[in-house]
């Protein structure tokens, strides 16, 4: 089953800490978003494998945009 990982807040994608095919555990830091000059790490909602990365570094994201799709 696929699990979408959503942006918890609007901001800019500062870095992506995973690659397609990586095995990820719940609470791993997957993406870092910068908002209001503050780095906010986004953590994986569950264990899984990275199936698709929908954003790249420097992208602006809105709240609830899909960042990464995990297959669980």
């Amino acid at each position: 089953m696929d699990q979408e990982m959503l942006a918890p807040l609007a901001g800019q994608v500062l870095s992506i800490k995973c690659a397609v095919g990586d095995a990820i555990e719940e609470d791993d830091e997957v993406v870092v978003i910068e908002a209001l000059k503050m780095e906010t790490p986004v953590f994986a909602p569950c264990d899984g494998t990275v199936k698709e990365i929908r954003v790249k570094e420097g992208d602006s994201v809105e709240e609830d945009d899909v960042l990464v799709i995990l297959s669980t």
Partner: protein, 372 residues
């Protein structure tokens, strides 16, 4: 020849230095050091520190009424009330009120966090300050530099330097002062509360907001007009999206230019004779009380609202009701994520934070209404 050397020596400043001036040099160097080495509100404390040094070099006419360079900056910029409203124009162009419009009930937190302003007003007056001075000290609790300078220059100009330095210092110390109060007043169960998503304000709403806020606030407290009107004009530039050049100029060039002319003369009002009094210490202490009480009032009102509301508010965001934007919102986010790292409070905290700016302006307007 000897006579000539003699008079040159007497006309130099060296023989006119006093101990008080040396103490002020130390204060100036400490502020300059904090600004450069610790990046402690450097945009303000660097020019303020330099202004303090200049004001304590004897025999210069920099602050001489009617002729000195810094006096002119002070008189035409601050006494004429030009600079703080222009700062607000820039802040308005930088501020996104959407987080507040998304959760309108959070406005109350921005109002509650002015509690410290009023409490400290009474405390300072009871401690022997005049009403005008007490109001200028209380407003420090709003943690809003330009509003503090605006109000103090009108009510108690003799306190301007100390009140401004206190306000900017506490803004820089937000991450140290606020967390213990926030943690002390909340339980872990409250700190992990996740906020319900707000609605999405429409574009029409964000354009109407600055217009409506101007009308309501100016009708309610006319003396707040200079600050609130400029704040909202800047915001209207931003949200109208058709005057990008004006928005950019307000946010960048204009804001940067007036910032230079704000800090320098404020520092220059702090000469040894007016600053080195026990009063300066009480201003710093009372300012700290004001700021701490404001933080507590915001958190406590959020807890109170949870008693009657079924969508629970994370009470930490009440602390963001002071107007230190966005430092307080960041602190709320940090303290919240210590309790639950997947709780993202930043944008929710921006709601009370931007409401707090308006709240502090209204508090200043109330003082001006009552005392003038």
């Amino acid at each position: 020849m000897i006579d000539g050397l003699h008079s040159l020596l007497f006309q130099s400043g060296f023989l006119h230095m006093t101990l008080g001036m040396l103490v002020m040099w130390v204060i100036a160097f400490v502020l300059i050091y904090l600004a450069i080495a610790k990046e402690f509100e450097p945009l303000l404390l660097l020019p303020i520190g330099f202004g303090i040094l200049l004001a304590n070099l004897p025999l210069s006419d920099l602050m001489e009424p009617g002729q000195g360079l810094l006096w002119r900056f002070y008189h035409h910029g601050i006494q004429w009330e030009v600079i703080p409203p222009l700062i607000f124009l820039g802040l308005g162009a930088l501020t996104d009120f959407r987080p507040m419009l998304a959760n309108p009930r959070l406005i109350f937190l921005g109002a509650a966090a002015q509690g410290g302003v009023y409490v400290t007003f009474f405390v300072a007056h009871a401690a022997g300050m005049s009403l005008d001075q007490a109001a200028s000290i209380g407003i420090i609790g709003g943690a809003d530099g330009p509003t503090t300078i605006y109000l103090t220059s009108k009510l108690a100009p003799e306190l301007l330097g100390s009140a401004a330095v206190a306000a900017y210092s506490y803004m820089a110390l937000v991450p140290i002062i606020q967390p213990p109060i926030m943690k002390g007043l909340t339980t872990k169960a409250e700190r992990v509360i996740r906020m319900k998503k707000g609605r999405k304000p429409s574009n029409l709403e964000v354009i109407l907001f600055p217009l409506a806020a101007t009308i309501v606030v100016v009708l309610l407290v006319p003396p707040a007009a200079a600050l609130i009107s400029m704040l909202m004009l800047g915001n209207l530039f931003r949200e109208a999206k058709v005057v990008e050049r004006l928005t950019k100029a307000s946010q960048n060039e204009l804001l940067n230019i007036v910032t230079i002319f704000l800090g320098l003369p404020v520092g220059a009002t702090m000469n040894a004779d007016t600053f080195l009094r026990p009063q300066a210490i009480s201003i710093f202490l009372l300012g700290l009380v004001a700021f701490a009480v404001s933080t507590a009032c915001g958190v406590l009102l959020a807890k109170g609202m949870n008693l009657v509301s079924k969508d629970k508010i994370n009470p930490l965001i009440g602390a963001a009701g002071v107007s230190a934007v966005p430092m307080s919102a960041r602190v709320v986010h940090k303290v919240g994520s210590e309790a639950d790292k997947k709780n993202y409070l930043l944008m929710y905290a921006m709601g009370p934070n931007v409401a707090g700016v308006i709240g502090t302006v209204i508090a200043a307007g109330v003082f001006l209404t009552l005392l003038r």
